[in-house]
């Protein structure tokens, strides 16, 4: 694009970008460094990044013993997995019907979806909480998953994607005698992987990180998701034991960050695709 030579403008540009990147990565650098420091080390020299005594083992052991990290990660995977599976199973047939089949409800349903997009969980949480309380359904995977079984955003995204698919594909399948369910399973889904991946990334990131709803419906460790578990760990770890805290933070943050680093192109695509069309 620009000339390859090192001009003054380019040096300035690269230094601004590098200093910025360093500032944005600093929390991660300090997290990794502090997770390996002993208490005394943390109190005396906060600016040296290399621990004086190597304390990683002790801190990680402490983090793993106070709150069952395995349990938290397992809960997180179960909750996010269930939410994603149900959302996709519900949203794809609905979006297919709205995009490719003629029926009188289609227009009304688009209005319904657009209205639904306006309503976050924070607005529906109170009545849902009261209802779940009456059903004695609090503290369960059901309570964590049920309100997110419907994703109007998912319907919206798939609707956009399916509209762009050629009708001929579907007509051909119908002439072959396929049922509508068969068309969805064997024609629509195999052709919709980019949209499904984008939505999957969006959904998992959103629900893995969500604190609001789990905080409301879960009050014991058995069903705690990663953010909630970390909150418990902070409460149990009164005072300034930052070594153990950083070790716990590291364990909790790692799965999603690793997933992001391995599939960053997909992540960024997913976010821009879901973002720009939202």
């Amino acid at each position: 694009m620009n000339n390859q030579s090192i001009s003054l403008a380019r040096i300035i540009r690269l230094s601004v970008l590098s200093v910025g990147a360093l500032a944005f990565l600093a929390p991660y650098i300090f997290m990794i460094s502090t997770a390996g420091k002993a208490q005394s080390d943390i109190f005396t020299s906060s600016l040296s990044l290399i621990p004086q005594q190597w304390f990683y083992l002790q801190n990680f052991a402490k983090a793993l013993s106070r709150v069952s990290m395995g349990r938290l990660l397992f809960n997180g995977i179960v909750v996010c997995g269930l939410i994603l599976a149900i959302q996709v199973t519900i949203a794809i047939p609905c979006a297919y019907a709205m995009a490719k089949l003629k029926f009188r409800g289609a227009q009304a349903m688009i209005v319904l979806v657009m209205l639904g997009l306006l309503v976050p969980i924070h607005a529906t949480a109170l009545p849902l909480y009261v209802a779940f309380d009456r059903m004695s359904a609090l503290n369960s995977f059901f309570a964590l998953v049920a309100p997110f079984s419907i994703s109007v955003f998912g319907i919206f995204l798939f609707l956009q994607f399916f509209r762009a698919m050629p009708d001929d594909l579907i007509h051909a399948a119908r002439l072959d005698g396929m049922s509508e369910i068969g068309i969805i399973g064997r024609v629509i889904v195999p052709n919709a992987w980019p949209a499904i991946t984008a939505f999957a990334i969006f959904s998992v990131v959103a629900h893995w990180n969500d604190l609001y709803w789990p905080l409301i419906v879960v009050s014991n460790q058995a069903y705690a998701t990663p953010p909630l578990g970390l909150l418990y760990f902070r409460a149990a770890e009164a005072g300034d034991d930052y070594g153990a805290l950083m070790a716990a933070t590291l364990i909790i943050t790692l799965p999603l960050v690793l997933a992001f680093l391995f599939a960053q192109k997909r992540f960024v695509e997913g976010i821009t695709m879901t973002g720009l069309k939202g």
């Binding site: 620009n2 390859q4 690269l14 970008l17 910025g20 990147a21 944005f24 990565l25 929390p27 300090f30 997290m31 943390i42 109190f43 906060s46 600016l47 519900i90 047939p93 609905c94 297919y96 019907a97 709205m98 089949l101 003629k102 029926f103 009188r104 319904l112 979806v113 306006l118 976050p120 924070h122 607005a123 529906t124 949480a125 109170l126 009545p127 849902l128 309380d133 049920a146 309100p147 419907i150 319907i155 509508e180 990131v205 604190l211 609001y212 905080l215 409301i216 953010p227 970390l230 909150l231 300034d240 930052y242 933070t249 943050t253 999603l256 997933a259 992001f260 960053q264 960024v268 973002g275």
Partner: protein
């Protein structure tokens, strides 16, 4: 009169094809039925319920409740905590949104103009978006720690006495804003990068031929107008997510010190799910929802008025 004659005709016309069409409509309804039921169950019904509850004195744990009309809303207007919370949310939004958008736009243009390290920079700035906010908030708490935190240690090296970032009423909202900006720049940046790559190169060449020699002129004449839709979208998303700030407040400050970091969602959470005053919290939720709807409405209006260049 003519209408009356026309009506039977329009109904009569599709009659021969109606059997397959009816079958198609039937399967369409069947396929979308689960979604419709769930939308009613988990979105429409709760919204109606929250509006209704806002007019009651319902409290969880008490058997009965009665309608109190607008009492909850009247109480809201005189509630010092709620007013403080609205104000704090507005201040937080007014800080985080413009800074994170301008930073993202600037960084996106720098990355776009540079041909080495693109994916590294994108990854570095985007990493906070993919990280667990509750966890990273904990890291920020350490960074902000008044005595052992690295930020104040660095300030001390420069001879500046560091503030008690999260611990004093005067700075807590700014400290939370820093975390908010750090967390949202990457998201906006990626959207701006997508918008920038979509701008045809020829436009810049054409602008240069027309005398736009300076980089600033090319920005003003090509980049800014072409990015219009992206900027509008990024602005709406940023404002909405700032209004929804909750995680950092719950994790780090619990609204303190002295209510200096009470924000809308945290106040709703406390009233509704800690004090269990469901009716009162519902009235707050209605205000929250109204704010979101007004923001969305403004976006639609602006979008309609915008000139489309593509």
């Amino acid at each position: 009169m003519a209408d009356m004659a026309a009506v039977p005709q329009t109904i009569a016309l599709p009659a021969p094809r109606s059997a397959p069409l009816a079958a198609e409509a039937r399967s369409a309804w069947l396929l979308s039925l689960p979604a419709i039921v769930l939308v009613f169950l988990f979105i429409l019904l709760p919204v109606v319920a929250v509006i209704g509850l806002g007019f009651t004195d319902f409290e969880l744990g008490y058997a009965g409740f009665k309608f109190v009309g607008l009492d909850n809303y009247i109480e809201l207007f005189t509630d010092r905590t709620f007013r403080q919370s609205l104000w704090n949310t507005a201040v937080y939004t007014a800080i985080v949104t413009p800074i994170s958008i301008l930073m993202a736009l600037g960084l996106a243009m720098l990355i776009e103009a540079e041909n080495i390290g693109r994916s590294f920079f994108r990854t570095a700035y985007f990493l906070p978006v993919a990280s667990l906010l509750v966890a990273m908030a904990t890291v920020w708490q350490y960074l902000f720690h008044p005595t052992i935190g690295p930020i104040n240690a660095m300030l001390a090296l420069a001879g500046i006495p560091g503030p008690n970032w999260l611990g004093s009423a005067g700075t807590v909202l700014y400290s939370l804003s820093i975390i908010g900006i750090w967390q949202s720049v990457g998201f906006n940046l990626v959207l701006f990068l997508a918008g920038l790559t979509a701008i045809p190169r020829e436009l810049y060449a054409a602008a240069e031929v027309d005398g736009a020699r300076a980089a600033y002129d090319r920005f003003r004449l090509v980049t800014w107008p072409m990015l219009g839709p992206t900027t509008l979208f990024v602005t709406t998303i940023s404002i909405i997510s700032s209004v929804k700030v909750f995680e950092t407040v719950k994790t780090l400050t619990e609204g303190g010190p002295n209510k200096a970091s009470e924000v809308l969602l945290f106040t709703i959470y406390k009233e509704g799910f800690v004090y269990l005053r469901v009716g009162y919290a519902s009235a707050m939720t209605v205000i929250f929802l109204a704010i979101l709807i007004v923001l969305m409405f403004l976006q639609y209006r602006l979008q309609d008025r915008q000139v489309h260049y593509t």
